[in-house]
Each structure stands twice: as structure tokens, then as C-alpha cells.
Symmetry: C2
Amino acid sequence: MHLPPIISIVSKKRAGKTTLIVKLIPELKNRGYRVGTLKHDTHGFDIDHEGKDTYKHKEAGSDTVVISSPWKISIIKDVSQEMSVDEVLKSYFLDVDIVITEGYKKANKLQIEVFRKGAHEYPMYKKGDKSTTIAIASDTPLDVDIPIYNINDIKAIADLIESKLLLKPL
Amino acid sequence: MHLPPIISIVSKKRAGKTTLIVKLIPELKNRGYRVGTLKHDTHGFDIDHEGKDTYKHKEAGSDTVVISSPWKISIIKDVSQEMSVDEVLKSYFLDVDIVITEGYKKANKLQIEVFRKGAHEYPMYKKGDKSTTIAIASDTPLDVDIPIYNINDIKAIADLIESKLLLKPL
């Protein structure tokens, strides 16, 4: 089974993970890749609308609710324990070329950290860290020993992701 | 691969499919079954909340958006053509004991029709039909040649589903 490559966009709280991801998605799509995204939620989420039939099914105790249309399918499913990232890849992402995760700092996948000086004093990454962080997307210079990318230079960040994960070596 | 048994709850519009399904779910759960439900949507649905990160991922063009937590996982995925019921069973329902569909009249699965005299003049099922309809859940007597169940007798309808789909013959 061939799992798609995966890059984690991580940061301290409110540094701008979603903002970076929603810019990277169309950039990678424009380059011809099928893109999947995986958000890590630790607090509990509520994705459906009260009053919809699917919402009523779930409220009534359905273990897995699926709604299927000619254009889109959606699944809401109880789990007895959190699925690992690799389990999620195997179950739901076999038909994409790349998966971007929002969060999953501890999943040990290649990571890009997002840092904004208005949000925090220091990034999570520190010089000398043995980590899977391959770069920091930042709005300010930082004293670190890994590459820093301008947080707004989406093409350069997509180039990095492409070169590390998607392009075959010549 | 062992696909779970499936029963379709069908009707003309607004006869009360959802109402019956949300009563059947806890009844079957109480009998110890893991229950999945599948709703057929032909018009297009919108399941996420505007402004949520997952909504933004999808808006940005992500082909498959997944949100994973310790209790629940949800997937929103574009499809190029509608998945068949059997494809949905294989992909998302292998870990339940029974699947109830809302709609899917044409899927050729065993069906229970819901009929209410306040909603329509006649049921879809007609005497002599060669169909997969095994019973009608009705609030009124009907001149048909298949069993009629009181629409409010959930135990009897669950008994029917159990005997046709879940219980092994002695």
C-alpha cells in the first residue's frame, strides 16, 4: 500500500497555521497535485448542522453517519481511540498526492513551523533541536540553524514541499 | 470482504423516513448492534460550518478534508461520480453490524416503505409489484400484499429487520 507523502504545518497557538495552509492548497493544486488536509482536534468538534437529517442520525446514536451525493461524500464516525496519522492516511487519503496536516506536532512527520512575531516571542524550534522541522515560515528574521522562509512567499514554501516530498530525484 | 447487511428506508417525499430511522437506531443499538446510517443526497449538501478551519480547507480546494479527534473523525471528500451503495459499504461501514439507508430506492436493497395518510394518497408500493420492499410502515390500513407495520411500533419493525438481516437461522 502506497501512502501519500505528508507535511505537518505546526506552530504555537494562533500563529497562522490555517492561513498558511489555505494558501498552500491552491498553489499545490495549480501544480497538478491532488491535495488532502488533516486537522488535529483535541477538544472535540461539531461539524454538522443541528436539524439536518445526518445530525439527527448521529444524535440518535448512529456509530457512523455517511451522506453521499454525486459531487461529495461526508462521513462522521465515532472512534474508541484516536486514529494515528498513518491509520488516517491508509483509511482516507490513498487517492491524493500529498497530505498537509494542521497540527500533529508529535506525529514525527516532516514539519514546517509557522512563526509570527506579533503572536509569540520565540518559535518552538530551537537551534540544535533534533526534530523533523525542515523550515520555519516566519514574518521576521530568527536565529536558527534551519531555513527560514518568508511567511508570504507561498511559491517558495510550495517549492520546498515539492522538492522534499513530491519530485522524484533525476 | 464481509459487507454488513443493509436495509433501505424509502418513501415519497416527507413521509417520515428520518423520523422512523432515528427511532430504529437506538432500538437496534439497545439490542447490541453497531449501527451505521447512510443518507442519499441528490441536491448537494453543506455539512461544515462557515469559518471553521476545515471549512476553509475545503473552500481553498482540498480534495479530502479530515478532522480527527480522540472521540470522532470526520471526512469531507469530493467525488468525480456518485459512489454506489456497495462502494460506500466497503469504504466506510466494515466495522458496523447493520447499515440503514435513508433513501436509495433504486439501489435494489431490501426496503421498508414509510407511508402516512396525511402526507400522500397512496404508497409507492403497489399490489403485485416485483420489488425488494419487504414491508410498509404505515399509520393507516392499506390494500397491499406485503406486511404492514404500525409506523409507531418500533420494536416490531426492529424485530423484522433483525429476523431478515441479523439473526442466523437455527
